[in-house]
Symmetry: D2
Amino acid sequence: MSTPGYGQVFAALRDGCPEQWQAYTRHAFVEGLGDGSLPRASFMHYLIQDYVFLVHFSRAWSLGVIKAETREEMQVCAATVNALINHEMALHVRTCAGLGIDEAALFATKEEVANLAYTRYVMDAGLQGDFIDLIAVLAPCCFGYGEIGLRLAGVAVADTPYADWIVTYAGDEYQDVMASVGEMFDAAVFRRLGPEFRTSPRWQRLQGRFTTATELEVGFWDMGLDGR
Amino acid sequence: MSTPGYGQVFAALRDGCPEQWQAYTRHAFVEGLGDGSLPRASFMHYLIQDYVFLVHFSRAWSLGVIKAETREEMQVCAATVNALINHEMALHVRTCAGLGIDEAALFATKEEVANLAYTRYVMDAGLQGDFIDLIAVLAPCCFGYGEIGLRLAGVAVADTPYADWIVTYAGDEYQDVMASVGEMFDAAVFRRLGPEFRTSPRWQRLQGRFTTATELEVGFWDMGLDGR
Amino acid sequence: MSTPGYGQVFAALRDGCPEQWQAYTRHAFVEGLGDGSLPRASFMHYLIQDYVFLVHFSRAWSLGVIKAETREEMQVCAATVNALINHEMALHVRTCAGLGIDEAALFATKEEVANLAYTRYVMDAGLQGDFIDLIAVLAPCCFGYGEIGLRLAGVAVADTPYADWIVTYAGDEYQDVMASVGEMFDAAVFRRLGPEFRTSPRWQRLQGRFTTATELEVGFWDMGLDGR
Amino acid sequence: MSTPGYGQVFAALRDGCPEQWQAYTRHAFVEGLGDGSLPRASFMHYLIQDYVFLVHFSRAWSLGVIKAETREEMQVCAATVNALINHEMALHVRTCAGLGIDEAALFATKEEVANLAYTRYVMDAGLQGDFIDLIAVLAPCCFGYGEIGLRLAGVAVADTPYADWIVTYAGDEYQDVMASVGEMFDAAVFRRLGPEFRTSPRWQRLQGRFTTATELEVGFWDMGLDGR
C-alpha cells in the first residue's frame, strides 16, 4: 500500500517524528481493530470517550474558522466542523445506541485525563499561535485516522467486529475531506512560511506541536486499552 | 403584520431599547429598500461591506460553537455558520458578480470603520463573556434582518429593485434558521439565568450589549447611505 | 488551626467536593512535605513541572484580565500575574539554580500529561465560559496551596527539608494575595449570580468545573510521586 | 531631533505607511497639544475616551502574555500590563479627578465608535493571528505616543496647558518601557520570520495590520477634535 496523500507539509511533519508516529498508527489497539482481537469493552470505552473527544475537536475546528485568513481556509474548516458533527459522530451514536447508550448520555460522559489533555492542548495551541499552529495539532488525529483506516482496510481479517469503524475512516467520504484538509494545510503553510517551509525559523516549533499531539494520540489508545 | 416570534429573550431585549431598535429597523436605508428609492450606489456600497461583515459574523458564530455547553447550542451554531457561508453570502456573491465584482475582490474589500467596529465588538463580547453574552450581540443582526425582511415583504412596492434582498430575509429558509436560533437563545438563557431571567443580576449588562450592537447596526446603515 | 478565610464562594465549592478536596490537600505528597519523608527526587520532579505549570497558570490569570468586567477584577488579576511571574516562580528558580538547573532549562521542560491536562483545561474553561467559570478553575490551586501551606506551617517537623516551600505558601505575601483573590471571587459571583448563588442554575456547572480542577491537582501530586 | 529607536521592525512598519504615519503623528490634535491651541473640551473628551481605551489596551497586552512563546515575551507583556494599569492610567485619573470625574465614572464611560473599533480590532487581531500579529497592532499606539511625546517635548511652547501629557510620554519611564517593547518585538519577529523578515510571505499582512491600526489612531484624534 502506498502512503496516502494528504500533502507535503503533513508528510514532512510525520517524517519528523517517526517513532511517535509508529507508536500511534501501529498501536496494539489499532492492530486489535484489524485482527479482531480487541476486547469489546476496550472498544466501547474508547468509543464513548472518542465521542466527547469529537465534541471538543469540533470546537477546535471552529477555532480554525476564527483564525483562517483566506476564504478557502474558512470553507474547509467550516465543512470539517459540519462533517464532524453531522457525520463522524454518527458512527459513535449509532454504535452506542445499539448498546442502549443514548446521545445525551454520551455528551455527559466524564472525560478521562488522557482525553481532556489532548483536546485542551489543541484548543490552547490555537489560542496561543496562528492558523498553522492550530492545524499542526489537528493534523495527527485527522490524517492518522485516515492512514490507519486505509491500511486496516487492506489487511483486516474478514470477520473483525470492527469493520464499521474501519470503513468509516477508509471510506471515500472521510478520505475526500482529509485530502481537502491536506491541500488546504499545504496552501496555508506556503502562504505563511513560503515553499521552503522546512527552513523557516518556525518549523521546529510546529514540529514540536505535531509531535506532542501524536504522543497524546498514543495516550488515547492506551486509555482505550486500559478500559478492558 | 404581527411581530414575528424569535423567542421571549429577544423580545425582552428589543423592548429594552425601543428607540435604538426603531432607529435600526426603520432606518432611511431600510425604507429605501422597500419603496425602491435607495440609490443603487448606496446599496452596492452596503452589499460589498456586508460581505466582509458576514465573513467576520461567521467567525463570531464559530466562536459560538466553542462557547456552547449543550449539544443543541453547538448544533445551532454550526448550522448557522454553514447557512451564513453557504447561503446568505451567496446573495452577495450573485449580485456582485452581475456587476463584475468577483468573490476574491469582495473578500479583499477594505472594511470601513463602522463595519469593523461592529464585528470586532461582537467577537470580543464573546471572548470576554460566556455563550449568552455572545448570542446577545449576535441577536440584533439576526433577528432584526428577519423582522425587516418580513415587514418589507408586506409593504414593499412591487417594482423595488431590491426584491431579491427582501426575499432573502423574508423567505422561509432564513426565517426557519432564525426561529431555531430564537428557541436556542431562550433555552440558553433559561439554562444560565433561570426562567426569571429579567431579574438576574446579569440582565442589565446583557441588555447593554444588545443595545450597543443595535446602535452599531444603525451605524452600518448610515455607512451604506454615505456610500451614495 | 481554623480554616483560613478565602471567601464564601470558595468555601461552598470546597464543601461541594469533600472527598476530592481531601484527596488533594491531604495527599501523600503533601504529608511528605510536612514530615520531611518526601524523596528529594520526587520534590525536584514536582518543582520542575510546577515551574512550567506556573508559566501556563500565569497565562490563565492573564485571560482573567481579558474577561474581567470591573476595575477590581482587572486589578486583582493583573496583580496576580505579576505575583506569579515575579514572586512565586522565584522559589522554583532559586531552588533549581542550587541544583544547576537554570531558568531557560526550566522554561523548556517537557510537560508531563498530568501537568499539561490541568493548565490547558483551565485555559479552555476560561475561553468557553465567563470570568467566574475561569476563576472557579483557578481557585483549587490558589486556595488549596494556601490551606496546605498554613496547615503544614503548624504541623511540619522542624527539620523538614521543605521548609522553604511551606514558608512560601504560608507566608503573609501569598496569604494576602489569596485573601484579595477570595474577596474578588465573592464579589464577582455576587455580581453575576446574586447573593443566593448556590441556587443559581449555573451553580452545578461551576461546582463541576471546580471539582474537575481539584481532581487534576490530585493527578499533579501523583505525577510528583511517580517521579521518584 | 533624531528618530527615537524602538527597533528595526517598528521602523520598517512605520516606513511602510508614511502617509498614515504622518496623518497620525502630525495630526491637528497633536499640534494643538504642542502649541497649546487645543480646546480644553477636546482634550477632556479625548482623555476620558482614552481611559476606556487603556482598559481594553491592557486586555490586549494581557492577550500578549497568553500568546507569548518565550520568557522574555511573557515578562515584557506582563510588565506592560502593569505599567498601563498602574502608571499610564494614573495621568488620566489624576487629571479627571481635578475636574470632579472619579475613576468609577471613567470606567463606565460610553465608548465612541472610533474608540471601540480600535481596541476590538486589536483584540481580534491577536485572537486571529499569533504573537507578532498582535504586537504589530499594539505598536502604533505604543511607539507613536513615544515619538509624539519626544518630539513635542522639544518643540512645545513653554506655557502649553498640556505639558503634563507631554511629560508622561516623553519621560524616561514611558520611553524605557517602549525601548524594551521595541527590543522584544525585534526578537519576536526574528524568532518567527528570521532576520530577513521583510521578505517573509507574512510581511505584507503584518504591514496591513500595522497600517490599519495607524489609521484607527487617526480616527481617535479626529474623535477628540469632534468633542469640541
